[in-house]
Amino acid sequence: MKMYRSHIMVCKGTGCNSSSSELIAQNFEKELKENGLENEVIVERTGCFGLCALGPVVIVYPEAAFYSQIKPEDVHEIVTEHLLKGRVVKRLLYHESIDGDRLKPLDEVPFYQKQVRIALRNCGVINPENIDEYIAFDGYKALTKALTEMNSEQVIDTIKRSGLRGRGGAGFPTGNKWEFAAKVKDDQKYVCCNADEGDPGAFMDRSVLEGDPHAVLEAMAIAGFAIGASQGYIYVRAEYPIAVKRLTIAIGQARQYGLLGKNILGTGFDFDIELRLGAGAFVCGEETALMRSIEGKRGMPTPRPPFPAVKGLFAKPTILNNVETLANVCQIILKGAEWFSSMGTEKSKGTKVFALGGKINNTGLVEVPMGTTMREIIYDIGGGIPNGRPYKAAQTGGPSGGCIPASEIDVPIDYDNLIALGSMMGSGGLIVMDDTTCMVDISRFFLDFTVDESCGKCTPCREGTKRMLEILERICEGKGEEGDIEKLESLARSIKDTALCGLGQTAPNPILSTLKYFRDEYEAHIRDKKCPAGVCQALLEYKISDEKCKGCGICAKNCPASAISGKPKETYLIDQAKCIKCGVCMSKCPFKAIAKE
């Protein structure tokens, strides 16, 4: 490999890729050549840096200059100024990465400062399509260590003592899962990786697969060694084409180096991995459904027991782990259980990746130690809420989770605290809401998702969630009735208790959680026919202000429902019974005299 004095890392994560980062990379290559720099400076395409809101993102080393929102036409200036003349182009730097005249090191940039990157350690740092770069940053060292210096009990013991818990939702201790499967005797066992990632808002698994695919392969091989499996499957959704491509390349390179396949590193251990593409049904992320889908059957959940550790894929002992869970494994083997368990809270060790979305300035991916508070995530890392609006709640755990209200913003986030608050960790989607979000509407949104994704196998989930959704829709339309809240609560209880799989069992959570903290909003919808956040269209009234209306009549001319009347030069009036809440009048009034409330 050649030595280059400067490395241009162009983010080709899904976010940046969709905003022309490939063209940016190509422009760099072209400009470097035109300036005779192609032997000094190299362009690398990486996975997500985390700050997707600022994409396309480019980092230039050795200065670690963080360029954000780069356009293809900006490339010329970066090459001729920064790379040719050594003058960083201040205009294009992420504003929080400069401190007067000084370029801040990346770990001093507020977005990265409180983060600890274990699962995301290589994302944005290596070229994920080059196995040598992964190896350079200690890749396949953990596998070597496990195969040559440890036996399977020691590997399992290390994972157990580290306290690593599943990052796919339920938080089950990973070492215990491996131990169960290791203890079952059978001639064939399997390791599966759950890369289905169905939670709305979550994209950490995709980012790991795109940015550091070998980390998952290496961890699966270690898991195979630990439980005595020789075959692994990665179940990845077909909607993740970049992830699929990079996994395919990574598997090919690992086989070529003999890091997958027969007699790995000459140790006598055999392990290979195949990809299985999922069609993107949410329920296929559930472990039993996922295994049925890999077997080529319809992805529907089956009752447990028998547990997969005993009778899983093809009726053989199987472990299934989430992508992010696996992305922690190699570092734990390399650095030890104590290193990992020194981070986090008493019962939740290590770090967790969150996908920040909703009303937040820095949407993107962040990895923080367990026990970080919502306030730190939103304000210190996420840069706060746009336009300085107040924090109302954060939704975690996707359709299986609930909301963290403002009163609980300082609770350290870990598995148990989130459950105690009536939410859950889930896969780590984190949707921030300000005072313009209607909590009834949010639960309607998640329930709508569940109803769509229910596989229909069991009645409570198939019928019960539909009933709940009907009630919520009615409430949002201003047709809520006394007793609706009680009906929702009793339906929720019975669905939770009787649904077959996790999808149905957790479906009522968003409703129960919003009822717990924002019951008054439900009551306002039902009793007063008002939406306090001003979201539910049917409950809003368009009103014309006495002071501002000039009586021009433009609104009346444009109203499709002929709901507005008045005399020229006098205040016009909206007939609420006729108004269909289309909002046309408000957008047409030249004097901003119409408001909705």
Binding site: Y61, G86, E133, Y140, Y257, L265
Partner: protein, 119 residues
């Protein structure tokens, strides 16, 4: 199939080529690349630093560049930062002079005082 030793070799070799992406604590050699520097031959100096560092298999060295340092009559200018040592500024550099700096200062830590600012 790679052996464990071969893997180790790939690791070392590749790490040397991509370590600029990690926090760096070793030696930094910085070439001033303002318009005046480039005019005085800073690019040839830069290229020869890269070549000599590669030829001599020097590890733990990062080559960087900076803008004009304000001493235009002394260009090309090269600065060397080594941990535990004050910054050393070399002036009126040529590819030949700079090769000596790489071999003496970067490799062995010995300042080549006849090329420094004050001599």
């Amino acid at each position: 199939m790679k052996t464990i030793q071969e893997l180790e070799e790939i690791r070392k070799r590749t790490f040397e080529t991509i370590k600029v992406r990690r926090e760096h604590s070793g030696t930094r050699i910085v070439v001033a690349m303002g318009t005046c520097g480039i005019k005085a031959g800073a690019r040839d100096v830069m290229v020869s630093i890269m070549e000599t560092v590669a030829e001599d298999n020097l590890t733990d060295v990062v080559i960087a560049q900076t803008g004009c340092t304000g001493n235009c009559d002394m260009e090309p200018i090269v600065e060397v930062y080594r941990p535990g040592q004050d910054k050393v500024t070399y002036v009126k550099m040529t590819p030949e002079k700079v090769a000596k700096i790489v071999k003496e200062h970067l490799a062995k830590g010995k300042v080549v005082s006849e090329y420094t600012m004050n001599s």
